[in-house]
Structure formats: C-alpha cells, structure tokens
Amino acid sequence: MFDFLRGLAILVAFYLLGMLLHRWGVPIPGGVLGLLLLYFALLSGIVNFHWVERAAGFLLRHMVLLFIPLTVGLMDMGGLLSRQALAIFASLLVSFLAVLLTTGLLGRWLFTQNGDAEISQ
C-alpha cells in the first residue's frame, strides 16, 4: 500500500511540475511535460523505476474509468454529431488508414533493408 501511494505521489508531483512549466509558458500540455520529465528522471536514475511501477500500472489499467465523466457529455451533442457525422467519420477512416500505412511501410523499409534481425524474428 505504501509503495502504491508513494508511486502515486511521485506521478502527481511530476504532473504538478508539468502544469507549472505549462503555466510559465511552455506550450505543451502539463501532463505530457510531466511524462517527459519523468521519462528523463527514470533514464538518469533520479527516480527508481520500482517506485512508480505499481501506481503507473494501476492508473493505466483503469484509465477508462477516468474519462467516463467526459464521455457521458456526448449525450448533449446529438445534434452536432448527426450534422457533422460524415466529416467526422470520413476523417477518422482516411486518417486511420493513412497513419497505419505510412508507419507500416516506413517500418518495413527501415527495419528490413539491411537485413538486421537483432530482435525481430
């Protein structure tokens, strides 16, 4: 339990730090700044991975719970959604295919050209 709370406190601390930097004018969302700061803190060994492992796993596993309140707001948007349905869904489909094919084909080109098989099998 203590492990978990300590991890949670560290995540919150990095989030607040990110928010602070955002408030001071860094144009990236506070959460993403916190992510980057924690990533570099982990890489440099300032934060031990085991301190945050459990709390991070918990938040990521139950993330769906956290965006239920926002999503329920869709109930007020029936009008807008039905008027813009074509634009919204076409954009989803086109963009999904474009991303998947760009990354997949670029990956095939970059990862298989020099026959390196270090970790892929």
Partner: protein
Amino acid sequence: MTVAAILANPALTIVLTVAAYSLALALHRRWRGIPPLVAACIPVIAFLLLVREPYAAYNRGGNLLSWWLGPATVALAAPMFRHGRALRWSLPRLAIIVLAGSIVGMVTAGVTAWLLGAPLPVIMSTIPKSVTTPIAIEVCRELKGIPQITIALVILAGILGASFGPWLLRLVGVRDDRSIGAAIGTASHGVGTASLVRHSEMQATVSSWAMAAAGVFTSLLAAILALFLR
C-alpha cells in the same frame, strides 16, 4: 429530498461512475467484444435521462475523476521507459516512423474534416484522434476542439486498429514485428496495443513505446499548430 439535491453532492459522480465502470468490466469479461467505455456510459446516460437530470448535474464531481487523467498521462513514462530499454538499438528508427505517422495522421484528419465542410472546433477535435485518450483530450483543449468528439474518435481509431490493423498491414506486405508494432501503436494507441499482446511480445513492446511517443510528438506538433492559430 429530490434527486437533484442528492446529485448536487460532487461525490455522487464518483459513486455512479465507479458503479457503471464495475458493471462494464463484468460485461467486458464475459463478452470481450464490448468496449468498457461504451458499456459504462450507456447506463449512466440512461439513468440521467430516466431521472430527467442534465449532464451538468451528473458532472459536478466529474473533475474529481477527470483530474487524474493528468497523472495517468505522466504514468505513460513507465511503460515507455521499460519498453525503451528493450528496444534500445531500434529507438532512433522507431522515433522517425512514429513522428512521420503522427504528422500524417494529424494532417489527413484535419484536412479531410475541413474538405467536408466541418466547422473549426470539429476539425480541431479530429486532429489528435490517433493518440491515447488523456493526451488526446489535452491536445484537443489546446486546439479549442470539443473533447467529447475527440474521445469518441480515439476509441473508434483504437477499435479499427485492433480489429483490422494487422490484417491491413499483412495485405501491403508488412510482416516484421517491429513495423507492425510501430504502426498499431501510432494509429491505435492502447486499444490496438492490447490486441497485439496475444500475438507477439515484441509487437506489443514496440507498440507500447510507439503509443507513448506518438502522444508526445502529437502534443509538440499541436503546440506548433496552435501558434499559427493565434
């Protein structure tokens, strides 16, 4: 005491939401095909319609839960770090792939919505649709979009990737584990990644890293876009 008076306590949002979420998890365990978010939102919406309460009444305590999306975003550093260690030598190439995918995703989503005549807030809501929900919501807010539309699109992008992603990739001859992982992680975030775990450890590892990196790149690119919009 009226329903409104009970609903006026912000803590009730938590009770209702956690109850709906537990129900959704139970349904999801039995029928894998039901997305937990959909299964959780439908009973809440049905309840609100039944007692004739507006969304605002339910959402008074919404921030008590939504606020944690921030720390949840920070938590993505953990899988990114763990999987990054395993992928060391591929990381520069992976980063290039994810960056390219993120740019293509944002541009194609925005341009398609614009060509079909969507108003600006709707266009902005489609732009972060490939990345994991907490980051997509933040990016959507920075761009002055409508978070609810973004959430719906993010979930659908995840389902598309989990259902058809690997098949589509095979169709165009993408077969190696790292490319499949990078493509699914960039296009379909956590939902796509979870679907890969059953097939290959390597695909899931690359996909986890790609999903976090796509979130970071998309926020950076959106920050640049936001500068032009001012």
